[in-house]
């Protein structure tokens, strides 16, 4: 059953067509990879799904209902969460607070309750703290709970972004180059985390990645973009040997690593 359906999606920036007539289905609970050369339009695609950009034309449906036109925060509330290619943490807030922000829609607090410090407010707060800590523990960052997010190393920051996204209780998690800047060992740990999240929570995961090892290992379905267009789609084995993909993206040695 498909959870996310994209129909003829097009995005133009002035004269530049960043996404052109893209259609795809993402199966519920699957891990899907979106790959393609730099500038192919992968991040742009994510941006449209999450409401950051409005499509020029086409439709995006979540569980059969269109989410085009929704503001990013509303998309988040519908259950789509994401990480960013260029890390966007709340740098001077603590690691725990970053995750707590992610729980925004799941904390019920009124203005008055907060100002008057009502018991219900306190309860909500301590629930949120504990929950956020549990998430940190899950992604392996609990030792940094009270650190400022900006002081974390690059890899830890990428993980924290995932944790924060998890806190919004998503149905679909979009990861934009989660392994960028990680070495093979760290990439491996990340791969495990992604699998674990999918398996334990039934999350649907869509990821953009240039690390072919990770992509081929993890994804059940791969979509290849080039110059804004979808040039191929299929299971890893198909993509690996697709001549178009090798030419545009993988290159000789890329194809070697992969196979």
């Amino acid at each position: 059953m498909s959870i996310l359906t994209v129909k003829n999606l097009t995005k133009a920036f002035g004269g530049l067509i960043a996404n052109s007539d893209i259609s795809m289905d993402v199966k519920k609970g699957s891990i899907t990879a979106v790959i393609g050369p730099n500038g192919a339009g992968k991040t742009t695609f994510f941006n449209m799904v999450t409401g950051v950009y409005q499509p020029t034309s086409g439709d995006i449906e979540l569980n059969g209902k269109s989410i085009v036109g929704l503001k990013p925060h509303a998309v988040s509330a519908k259950g789509i969460s994401r990480t960013f290619q260029n890390i966007r943490l709340f740098g001077s807030m603590t690691v725990l607070e970053n995750v707590m922000v992610g729980m925004h829609n799941h904390i019920k607090q009124g203005l008055l309750g907060a100002v008057l410090d009502l018991p219900s407010f306190k309860k909500q707060e301590s629930f949120a703290e504990q929950e956020a800590y549990n998430i940190l523990d899950y992604i392996g960052l609990s030792q940094f709970t009270n650190e400022e997010a900006r002081n974390l190393s690059y890899g830890a920051q990428r993980r924290l972004e995932i944790g924060r996204a998890l806190a919004t209780r998503p149905q679909i998690l979009l990861l934009d180059e989660p392994a960028a800047g990680m070495n093979p060992k760290e990439t491996k740990e990340l791969t495990e985390l992604i699998f674990k999240m999918r398996n334990e929570f039934g999350l649907t995961i869509v990821l953009i990645e240039h690390d072919m090892k990770l992509v081929m290992e993890i994804s059940e379905h791969i979509i290849v973009l080039d110059h804004g267009e979808k040039i191929a789609e299929g299971i890893p084995e198909e993509i690996r040997t697709n001549q178009k993909v090798i030419e545009a993206y993988l290159g000789k040695s890329g194809a070697e690593t992969v196979s």
Binding site: G36, N38, A180, G181, N183, E186
Partner: protein
Amino acid sequence: MAEKILDLQNIDTFYGGIQALKEISLHVDAGEIVTLIGSNGAGKSTTLKTISGQVKPKSGSILYNGTEISNRAPHETALSGIAHVPEGRRIFPKLTVKENLEMGAFSVKDKRIVKERMERVFQYFPRIKERLSQQGGTMSGGEQQMLAIGRALMMQPKILMLDEPSMGLAPIIVEQIFEIIKELNNEGITILLVEQNAFQALSIADRGYVIQNGKITLSGLGKELIDNEQIQEAYLA
């Protein structure tokens, strides 16, 4: 034997109270490719920044052709022939591609020389020539990386320091970049390469250092390190 063109001795570098480099000692011989590998936050970028003067070491010395350069301001270090291609490329987004290149040759007064050097860059990166009047920030990731290296080459450096040039790039581009690095080295430029992509880095490097938590933990010839078990386990997975 080739002489040490760059020699770091017992470098300690701090960010505020946090010590990022602990007694780092390493050297680069003229004409070598040396690579520095290590996990996130190990201190690779900090090492390069310390060399180029962006952060000042608290103690230790950096000898460049035998001269102490650890107190120099970044622009002075650059003037003396050490080019640093920073992490994340750092193209000037609102300057045109041509202006970005010209910035690389900022210290050169003679316009003819600038022109000559630019032609050389075009030989390595024909793509750049097609995009001269485009704004730097609108280039795709791979193009930006090429521009960043090209910009550094405009300085005609003796040493080229590259900080994770393959990050975020499509495999096909990564392949090209490593080719170019080899080519540059063949032309006589000494290279200090920081990479996550340990396998590829070590396979083109003459020598390599492994840095962990701000300390050098291993060093050796590139080929040796590839076969080293510890490295196999930690970085080559």
